[in-house]
Amino acid sequence: MSLATNEQATTQSSPSPELIKAVPVRHPGRWVGAVIIVLAAAVGIQSLATNPNFHWDTFGLYVLDENVIRGVGWTLLLTVLSMAIAVTLAILLAFMRQSENPIFRWSSWFWVWFFRGTPVYTQLIFWGLVAVLYPRITIGVPFGPELLSLTTQDLLNAFWAAVLGLALNESAYLAEIFRAGLKSVDKGQIEAAEALGMRGSKIMWRIVLPQAMRIIVPPTGNETIGMLKTTSLVLAVPFTLDLTFVTNTLANRSYLPIPLLIVAAFWYLVVTSILMVGQHFIEKHYGKGVDISTRITVNPAALQTAGVSVNPTPAPAQNASTNSEEDVR
């Protein structure tokens, strides 16, 4: 009750206080900085527009070229498929890393150690050469009869070798991100679920992972954008239909590398922008229950890691008053 009485008392005793009208602090430095940046931007735009060596006509000629568009498609496909495989593997690896079974923990550690410790370019070359190492893949009983035999070339063409190489390498990085996410969830959440009679996998999928996603999504978005550009290395396999390879080929043919570099950069930027919009909505989905709040109950350090600002402002006045009435009653 004392809360409500206090509020009434203050409103009654001072109905219309004189508001402060102070002279704001001037910031001349900000204006100087702004002028410098605007001038630099103007110089940049002018040179882009007037320097004939940019060959904007060539850019216009190739930006919607059929081979380029198809290259964008292949690059997207490589990105989406390898990220999908990498995320699946990463969840498995992160769960294994938390397992009570030491064999699971060690093999997960070893996987991360190996794939994070070797260059992705080297790994891509290796997957391209698997067919040399193992010309035929045979399923059968060891030292016994063969059940199925395929040539490696049929099973693992350049595209799938590229996807596999990108995905396995990425899974090692994502596994560490997922592990950090799972660890960020308060142990009390697991205990509460256990006390209700829930069990391991259900607790993981329904209680821990959804809350860990808030921590996992931002760096995973970062990795996805990184992957989009890492796909430009698939010529190591060699896979030759992706955006970078196609624009390089066109550049070599026309002896005009700069406009075609701009074509590639333009499309990478377009796709990145689309991915960023997607990430925004995913973050919003997994932020429910936390980002709307004024009272934070989860680990604030974990929130800061995720780049979520902890808003210290109090609840809107109306909300606060209903709360206090309700509680005091």
Binding site: D186, G188, Q189, E191, A192, A193, E194, A195, L196, G197, M198, R199, G200, K202, R206, I207, P210, Q211, Y286, K288, G289, V290, I292, S293, T294, R295, I296, T297, V298, N323, E326, D327, V328
Partner: protein
Amino acid sequence: MSASVHPLTSPPASAPANDVVRIEGVHKYFGDHHVLSGIDMTVKEGEVAVLIGPSGSGKSTLLRCINHLESIGAGRIRVNGELIGYRETDGKLHELHLKDIARQRRNIGMVFQRFNLFGHKTALENIIEAPVQVRGLEKVPAKRRAQDLLDRVGLAHRASYYPAQLSGGQQQRVAIARALAMDPELMLFDEPTSALDPELVGDVLDVMKDLAKSGMTMIVVTHEIGFAREVGDTLTFMDGGVVVESGNPRELIVNPQQERTKSFFSKVL
């Protein structure tokens, strides 16, 4: 003595059917630290047993052993006659499979000091989670039941709020409703009001008093001496991993027999 906690005498060989909890000679170690050294305790059906003691006395640990959130080093804990965490055949103990431990926990509700509501779920979703996922209840009747439970703890209008939008006292009442949704035969309260602002403690204690009146068997670890006096059927004072003294709370608080109990009450009352 009307109290049914028998800390210093071994319970009768053939226990009456209405003993909900029987704790016999329980020891617990954290590494070299001997947290519980030989606890005996019985809680009868419908009884409210209050555990008090200084921090580090082992009272929360004992509570957590009852639903096997902590495993015990020696002794036996039985809930409704069923051994918790183990199976005994020919005098040999076998660890229970996780699925059987989960089954045992379904009938034991627990309320935590830090509420531990699921942060990504609304009050209503918190309450229906276990009935739907564990008991396999349909969503519609589960929601109806959850709404009734929210009404019972005075929060019918907060069903769609996330935990972070609720005050501590409201969160704790939702947590009680969540535990009740599993229709437990026993409720464990681990310092349920210790993390609350003083003015919010009363609401939570009121809900617990109602629950006690409805005949729920409860074990409450708390620092609220007033609650123990008003609602408790038995009061057990623990220190250094042993039960120092126990009995009727109205008598024990006024007239403790042990020096340690006297000095504790002289500081907290």
